[in-house]
């Protein structure tokens, strides 16, 4: 059996979307798992045709299995190799792409096969434009992984890869105190930007979030730099892309790199003190004013 599409799996079996895309291309689907054995077992029951587990010990990060992943994929060269958008899987996809000398695309909206070519509609330059590309040869795609696939009723045997891991190991894990979140699941999202003066003021935003039943997210500098929230909460071209019913941008200027992450929102509301902020040209409802007055007022109006 020759594999048509390989799915690369790291620490989590969150590959539902990757299986859907791989299946849509036809042909056998293989999965190579660099994470724990338990992940390989979940994947083996998810309806793929073949599973290879790299067998690294628990204190070794998924990235250490990059040579084993590249080796496995190259031994049964696919047309397409897929991975989810997290740091570990990016590294593994990179190793496979280097080995296959594959084209690498990260903005695929649709993927299809046309004779000898793989056709991808690919968003480029922070999603401002789209290209339809035809690739003759191997393609590596970074996509949203999706959720954990349900058991498909049947299990394929787990093969083991033999390559030695790279010299890296986990020596310590500390909790950050930040709750984990899946913004993609939220119907309403409030985004906080640098218009908020202090971390303590998040309490005011949390009160609104509670009143409107929303998750709190942010622009990149708030998560990376100010460190007010976990990195899984920042929205934008290099962060989360969301499509909630409501996105409420508070103190966000509306830079392109942020706004591409909320294009799919059904309704966008913005609060900003600067009437010239770019965000107002991209919203349904704009409120020019002091967020410290407006946010509590909206919270009160919801009660």
């Amino acid at each position: 059996m020759s594999v048509n599409a390989w799915i690369i799996v790291g620490d989590q079996p969150a590959i539902g979307n990757l299986i859907t895309v791989a299946r849509s291309l036809g042909g056998p689907v293989g999965a190579v798992v660099a994470g724990p054995r338990s992940v390989a077992e979940t994947v083996a029951a998810s309806g793929v045709d073949k599973v290879v587990w790299c067998g690294a010990p628990d204190d070794v990060p998924a990235e250490a299995s990059a040579p084993a992943v590249a080796e496995t994929v190259a031994a049964d060269p696919p047309r397409v190799v897929l991975a989810g958008r997290n740091p570990g899987e990016r590294v593994l996809l990179g190793a496979a792409a280097a080995r296959l000398k594959a084209a690498v695309l990260t903005g695929a909206r649709t993927v299809s096969i046309d004779g000898g070519d793989v056709i991808v509609v690919n968003a480029v330059f922070g999603d401002i434009a789209e290209e339809t590309v035809a690739i003759c040869g191997p393609v590596a795609l970074l996509l949203d992984g999706g959720s954990v696939p349900p058991a498909a009723g049947g299990c394929v045997p787990i093969e083991e890869a033999a390559a030695a891991p790279l010299a890296m190991k986990v020596i310590e894990t500390r909790t950050s105190g930040f709750d984990q979140v899946d913004l993609g699941e939220a119907h309403r999202v409030i985004g906080v930007g640098r218009g908020l003066a202090a971390k303590e003021d998040l309490a005011m935003v949390e009160a609104l979030a509670k009143a409107v039943n929303a998750e709190i997210a942010c622009s990149r500098p708030v998560a990376e730099g100010l460190n007010w929230m976990g990195k899984d909460r920042y929205i934008g071209s290099s962060g989360a892309h969301i499509a909630p019913q409501l996105y409420l941008a508070i103190g966000i200027s509306g830079q392109l790199q942020h706004m591409v992450g909320v294009q799919g929102a059904q309704t966008i509301v913005a609060i900003n003190s600067d009437p010239n902020a770019a965000v107002f040209s991209q919203t349904d409802y704009g409120l020019v004013g002091d967020l410290y007055q407006l946010v509590p007022a909206i919270t009160a109006a919801l009660k």
Binding site: A103, A129, A134, S238, L246, F280, G289
Partner: protein, 258 residues
């Protein structure tokens, strides 16, 4: 001992416009050092100081990446010298082609124990070049690195993971993609700018590197400007915050959003 930091001289798509035919007009976008590269350069400089290593900046791209202002922007932030491949064929290069060129540059420089990059570029934001580069070199790679300590060759690398921080120990050479909070970049002063003008800039010919060819031939069959959802663009009078809040809540309820 040598440490390499890869940087990118490029434009910000926020300053570009997309024509109706889907082609991108970059004419009003000013080129500059990619937004997160100063943090990567600073981190690499700090590691080079600790290790007593030479720090070499590298970049590869189309016409324009070797202009003096670009080299100076990198050199004034810390590298001892830069090595550049400027070739118009790289202007439209994909992630894997670019990574393959960088890998050959690192082999050409020789004696390199660590490569630092930014986590993503301001223009493409694919976050894949460091990953493919590590694959080309056969080295361990870590993305979204938030802090590094220890010695080059025996590094302690911190990265954010969901809900926490993980510390990794890496023996031997590695590729580290630095997150924006990995180091606070310096603002180069006049002295650094003057010193940068005297640092060596080496231009390499792409053909001399013998980069292995890609197995994939990619052709652009079409371009388009993505349809954006039409927005109402309605401004709510905020002279009375309570009335503004009531108006917003009523509008959202009517739209079925609340």
């Amino acid at each position: 001992m040598r440490i390499v930091v890869a940087y990118k001289w490029t434009r910000d798509p926020a300053e570009a416009t997309v024509r109706a035919d889907g082609t991108v007009d970059w004419s009003r976008a000013k080129p500059g050092l990619s937004a997160y590269d100063p943090m990567a350069i600073e981190l690499a400089r700090q590691l080079a100081e600790v290790a007593g290593a030479e720090l070499i900046g590298i970049t590869a791209g189309g016409t324009g990446v070797a202009v003096p202002i670009a080299s100076k922007a990198a050199l004034s932030r810390g590298p001892d010298r830069v090595v550049i491949v400027e070739d118009e064929s790289l202007a439209e290069a994909g992630r894997s082609e670019l990574a393959a060129v960088l890998a050959e540059m690192i082999r050409y420089i020789g004696d390199v124990d660590l490569v630092v990059t930014g986590d993503s570029s301001v223009d493409v934001a694919a976050k894949m070049v460091p990953a493919v580069l590590a694959g080309e070199l056969g080295w361990p790679a870590v993305a979204e690195v938030t802090a590094v300590s220890g010695q080059v060759g025996a590094l302690r690398v911190e990265r954010a993971v969901p809900g926490g921080v993980q510390v990794l120990e890496i023996c031997g050479p590695a590729v580290l993609a630095a997150s924006a909070d990995a180091a606070v970049p310096r603002v180069p002063g006049m002295k650094a700018l003057l010193a940068a003008a005297k640092k060596p800039v080496e231009l390499l010919e792409l053909a001399a590197l013998k980069v292995p060819p890609s197995s994939a031939i990619m052709t652009v069959a079409g371009r388009s400007r993505p349809e954006r959802k039409a927005r109402k663009g309605q401004l709510i009078d905020t002279s009375d915050p309570a009335a503004a809040a009531a108006e917003l809540v009523a509008a959202l309820r009517e739209a079925g959003t609340l």
